[in-house]
Symmetry: D2
Subunit: 306 residues, 4 copies
Amino acid sequence: MAGLGAIGLLHARHLARQLCGARLACVVDQDRALAEAIGSELGSPFSAFFETALEDARVTAVVIATPSPLHAEMVGQAVRAGKHVFCEKPLSLDVASGERAAALADAAGVILQVGFQRRFDADFVEARRLIGADELGAVLLLRISHRNRIPPHDGPLERRFGSPFVDMTIHDFDTALWLAGPVAEVSAFASADSTLAVVRFESGALGVIDNTRRAGYGFECAAELVGSRLTLRIGDGARASRVERLTAAGALTRLAADYIERHRAAYLEELRHFVACVHSGTAPAVGGAEANAALALALTAERCAA
Amino acid sequence: MAGLGAIGLLHARHLARQLCGARLACVVDQDRALAEAIGSELGSPFSAFFETALEDARVTAVVIATPSPLHAEMVGQAVRAGKHVFCEKPLSLDVASGERAAALADAAGVILQVGFQRRFDADFVEARRLIGADELGAVLLLRISHRNRIPPHDGPLERRFGSPFVDMTIHDFDTALWLAGPVAEVSAFASADSTLAVVRFESGALGVIDNTRRAGYGFECAAELVGSRLTLRIGDGARASRVERLTAAGALTRLAADYIERHRAAYLEELRHFVACVHSGTAPAVGGAEANAALALALTAERCAA
Amino acid sequence: MAGLGAIGLLHARHLARQLCGARLACVVDQDRALAEAIGSELGSPFSAFFETALEDARVTAVVIATPSPLHAEMVGQAVRAGKHVFCEKPLSLDVASGERAAALADAAGVILQVGFQRRFDADFVEARRLIGADELGAVLLLRISHRNRIPPHDGPLERRFGSPFVDMTIHDFDTALWLAGPVAEVSAFASADSTLAVVRFESGALGVIDNTRRAGYGFECAAELVGSRLTLRIGDGARASRVERLTAAGALTRLAADYIERHRAAYLEELRHFVACVHSGTAPAVGGAEANAALALALTAERCAA
Amino acid sequence: MAGLGAIGLLHARHLARQLCGARLACVVDQDRALAEAIGSELGSPFSAFFETALEDARVTAVVIATPSPLHAEMVGQAVRAGKHVFCEKPLSLDVASGERAAALADAAGVILQVGFQRRFDADFVEARRLIGADELGAVLLLRISHRNRIPPHDGPLERRFGSPFVDMTIHDFDTALWLAGPVAEVSAFASADSTLAVVRFESGALGVIDNTRRAGYGFECAAELVGSRLTLRIGDGARASRVERLTAAGALTRLAADYIERHRAAYLEELRHFVACVHSGTAPAVGGAEANAALALALTAERCAA
């Protein structure tokens, strides 16, 4: 487990406590004290150096959750060391690096899975199933609303994670490709707080993705697909609970504070899928090709909105 | 229009402004100043005396919304004066008076309608239609939750409106009879704040009605019918609006503050129905028989819970 | 009442039966048989000629609900005859005609109201009130989803009502201006079934409007405003009822079939407002200026999407 | 793992695949072929005899999910063999046996946990937390609606699981005690399809529990607590998903088919809690005392309704 930020910690804990088919061999973070603390919490060895884990023959696979600019290079290192790789999105910040990483994994015959957890979210999986069963007919319109309560990484270094299109909307581009097929055109618009991406699918359908980085209320992940036969809505806004509190002020329901709260089960499932693919040798559902396709759209949107 | 409390005012304004087939001939309240103020607001004559209206040959019908203990007697007066009568619930506080009033109206050939407005609420009407179309199959269970945010009439004189069973649960007994048929048995339980009534229908189905007089959050009027083929739910709690306000505290929706806010349209529709019945001579959907049936159940519950 | 299509019939019935402060003096439709039938139903005189109503001195105001291309000219006729005018949207199909009609009404000192009924919808009014009370803080993002189940006017003559932007999205442009202020830029995209309009407000906020003309499921009219302090959502999709039907297939709720079902109360309120303005001489909330502002955005969008 | 019916299978799979701190040492079922098949699926030894597992020194704890009449005796056997015990509800079918089993576990110093999984359901846990934080003020009314789509065990042997009060309502009695405190009185009513239990809490509050064994639509587990300061509602009916399918027929959402689908996470959590208690020696949150208190209420209700 390389990288112990919020997502890295989540993955590490899932590996240690909830995925019985995997053993957490080592937690790595350049912050040695953090690595030691987490290693202690999870009962696993630790290191400040990724190379240490790569040199360990007992390590079969690595999970990379370091800052985005480091991903492509670390994937290359891991693949050359013969390790299977689960890499958090984005696989890379430029398409060439992403394609190189995917090719290296292919050539080395190792599994490369990228962390688009929404593909493992029960509601989105149900939507994909209904589409695959042709229940919608032709998709006419796709709408995705994706918002963070507060920016996940802030401050002067934020831009090293890529533009909002690459850091955030990339999830929505992947979802759009997954649910509605190849994209022919992308247009994009940005303000200080929000972005809008408009896509025209090869099918002729239209799609719109709205993102807000500081929505203030909770984590929003809603989608709609208007089809010729049926319309699908993944709704409930950011609701996190069935519990309503009723007072004279109104009926109040808790909202998911962030993407971890909303997608906790999906984060577990994507790792469960990775572990199963490593054991069985099957190609994962979301790999380099998917990551690069989504990145290409994100970079096109970034250029358009500039 | 006799009686200018909250409900009386509502009826008066509906008559004056929204029911074009009726003309508000007189507003009456023992509080002469109030009668004058409302008469002025609505552009209608006023009086402190019910008899004045009864003696006026141009008055075709009366709407009675005075305190409950006065209803039966005033209905008798109006009927003897040859007026059609819309009487707020309850028609009476004892069955004998209610049956007498109904018989008098019958004999005089005038319309007698009683104010069970829920029978004109769009959602309950839709439920009744589905039941009548046999979509539910056999009704197995009925549940009604009916709550006021604060008691509608409070203080030392509250009990003159009858027990909570007669003043409040009577609506639910009428709904139960209307939706699920004749009742064979009633059991009831009361606490300082709430009542529970359990009914066994002649069909064998069970029913439960919970009322709270000071729920604190809003006006609740929810119902469920579990049927052998389909279950109906009239839900949404006390929600008054499609507007949600989302903040880090949660998603907040306004609630109906009282029965007027929740049933405003139904209050208008029941008067519209009354006016139409007066014009056409048709018997109203809710009259003395329905009122007395509901009262009988309410009084049985009251004795049981004592 | 000129024009007895779906909307015209609705207005005529509201005027005749629900607006006690107005008398339906004449129903007009070029289809004489239809005019006669409706006149008979509503107990009003009828004619096949607009001029007949204009020449009648007892006629104070006219409601125009004829096909869109006729609006501007008929408004001019009515205004020159000294009648107050309620004109269904759009006021005109080109800005010059719309400005001319507004100027004529101004000069003649008559009321001109345009039928943007959403401005009288309880939920949108509540939203506007919260915005006006500064509860949202700065608006960051506006999203509107507006869909018809089936196209309201179909067939070879459909395009005479104007492009989808002028016929349908014009409501959303008016809502956008009303809720989030002046618009600096418009971009638009169209497919065979849907349109997307992206606006950039003078405030810097972004807005996106998605329309589908044949959504197939019901009439959709949802909106969201993400604000710096609070997010507003007008949701519930196209739900028309509190009644849920539960079976092993799922929980089913009825949807509004069309804009009349969804906005019936708003259609009544906007006419009630018009009648009140005619009586009091106050300028209506939605007049020529609003209509022309929305049309300008619609035409810009139309050109952009071509 | 003793007993491989629906619940037993669920527990077995959780133990084998999701609870890394436990090893599934043996699956037991009187149906040897079933035990073999499951043992094979989960990679664990199997037996047709409970004694075999009890005699195995490596077995630390047992999970009992055999038919209800066998529970108390098997708990006794396991406790005497020095094993910790997780026993599905009900602990026993009569209070004396339940108290004996609890006393034996106490004396032997082993953990005894009983399977009231709702105590581990996220929504109910949230409700309990709000109550514990005194957010509701005084509880005035409790309402629970608990329904099965189809009876979990059917046919001539159904009654060996106890009356519906002991088999099904026992969950609701446990929830009532957990959320609203000790009960002073119980009244109950039964029909062929449903039961109603009315409780009066020592606090003076009222409670009503409605159960239907063949509701037909899905698994229902809803609750409301009306408090003097705030009302809590655990709602959403039996909704199983955020996905809505919209067609002209309406908006359709999937419902939980049974208690396993609705409470899957809670079933896992209660076993996770048991494993943690076995490791740490802490008393479990739900043990013999809780089970016997709920059973006492269920048996009182059963006698009352007869």
